[in-house]
Symmetry: C2
Subunit: 302 residues, 2 copies
């Protein structure tokens, strides 16, 4: 039994995403779990997931999960908000013995820990916002909270183009964020402040004090988002990204199952993509925060 | 023999694209060939093609073509520059008896007809620019021409977000177009004008006088592109999009093969997508130029 457990603890953690965005989660996992081996799979042949239907994303996510399960992972991390929202339950149902963690629940928990006024704003892809996964996850923890969401479809291609700051990204961020914080100030309904025309700066209902980055691409835009929030003259807003809390949740789960790797040397990461290793390495470097070379990336078919 | 020909002429024209952009080509086909029935297939489950590898795009294009061939089309139009560049030869090889037309050759022909100074700029997706298909097609017609290309990855998501004018799109367009026309003015190499510092406005080598919209999404941004060219104070630039010339090329080919439909009533268009009929209808309306309802769109699997 001990020998079997020891074998299991040596197995890698599987991480998948539609493409490169999940590398922000992998980076947090590597920092928090430096002795674990990691298998990362980015489904770049079919990215992005965020503009596609729940049904299609779930089908893709199950295929990615199956690939990693066939490589004998000891736990599976869905490092993509869209895929978590669309397919976490289905992936768990397909492999009930395996620990499967998504990024939505840790992100929701972090937001609930950060907010002081119970008003939380979420920015994510079109699919994640439409499905309401964050709203449900946050209100499961804090039923009295108010959650407003905004899809930011252009943030993903902007991040992938490497345009992470400067006037264009700021203008895009302002266009997406302004209504969130304006509608927060007016109670979530446009025109709700009409009854108090003399006090536009003293709304009865406070603005959100917490902004969840509900897409793994968005942390690369944090500096710009923070700057725009400052320009919008909103109060103190805590920006929450789920990478660090997801990594902690994975660590807790592995410890609970006695599956933490006992090796003393640093863990190894192995990178797989379904299309174009060179592009994965080039753009992936932006998200991973260190240089990746095309030679380190394997092409796989799902 | 005549009966068989008559049967063949009744068959529909098949048109495919990675998603909704090809509807700009379909619209031109419907205008030029009002008595033809059309089958349109948008592979939205895997869009965009423009950031993916040639090999992957070719695989997807062959699957889309196979679907339409199985529906007995009399001709096939690849209404996507990326897929044309990646897969025209392979699709023709797979169905040698079928007329298969892409959008690159008609676009190149239109550019060669429009330019007066033989300097042509092409904007397209990352994949199309990297593959150099326009450069080859233009120089096959005009070997003495000079072609410069620029990938404009953000134009597709901007068009799909419905942001087709206004300061953000203008700023993005300026960022992409400025180097094209500046490098044109300095002979294609930055710093080449250093030898003539007193005459920055009188370069020896003229700027491009023709801009090819080498992606079917881009015609929706024509007004913004034209405005930015004006702001850049470049000379008269003809903007070429391949939709109309592709439609004419299809008409010529059908006439040559005696395959023009002889019915007197208007042709019917049928729309198929691989994901999310509602999103296809909503965004597709922008490209088709008339309202599409989700109920008019069928979901198919490739």
């Amino acid at each position: 039994m001990n020998a079997a457990l020891s074998d299991d603890s040596d197995r890698p953690i599987g991480v998948f995403d539609s493409g490169m965005g999940g590398l922000t989660v992998l980076s947090a996992l590597m920092a928090r779990l430096p002795h674990e081996d990691m298998l990362y799979l980015g489904d770049t042949a079919r990215l992005p997931y965020g503009t596609k239907s729940r049904r299609t994303v779930a089908r893709y996510a199950l295929q990615a999960a199956e690939k990693l399960v066939s490589m004998r992972v000891k736990a599976l991390v869905i490092a993509c908000n869209t895929a978590t929202a669309a397919a976490l339950d289905e992936v768990r149902a397909a492999w009930p013995q395996l620990s499967v963690l998504g990024v939505v629940e840790p992100g929701a928990a972090a937001a609930c820990a950060a907010t002081r006024n119970n008003r939380i704003a979420v920015i994510a892809t079109e699919s994640t916002i439409r499905g309401g996964a964050y709203q449900r996850a946050i209100q499961a923890i804090r039923p009295d909270s108010s959650v407003i969401g905004q899809s930011c479809s252009l943030f993903v291609p902007l991040a992938e183009e490497g345009w992470m700051d400067g006037p264009i990204v700021e203008a895009v961020a302002k266009r997406y964020l302004e209504p969130l914080f304006m509608s927060g100030a007016s109670g979530g309904q446009s025109g709700a402040a009409d009854g108090q025309p003399d006090a536009p700066n003293k709304p009865d209902i406070p603005q959100p004090d917490c902004l969840v980055l509900g897409c793994t691409h968005f942390p690369t835009l944090t500096a710009t988002i923070a700057k725009v929030l400052g320009d919008l003259s909103v109060g103190q807003v805590t920006i929450v990204d789920s990478a660090a809390t997801t990594a902690q949740a994975v660590k807790n789960k592995l410890r609970e199952l006695d599956l933490l790797n006992r090796q003393s040397q640093p863990g190894q990461a192995r990178f797989m993509t379904t299309d174009d290793e060179a592009r994965f390495a080039r753009i992936g470097s932006l998200f991973l925060g260190r240089q990746l070379e095309a030679g380190q990336v394997e092409l796989v078919n799902l």
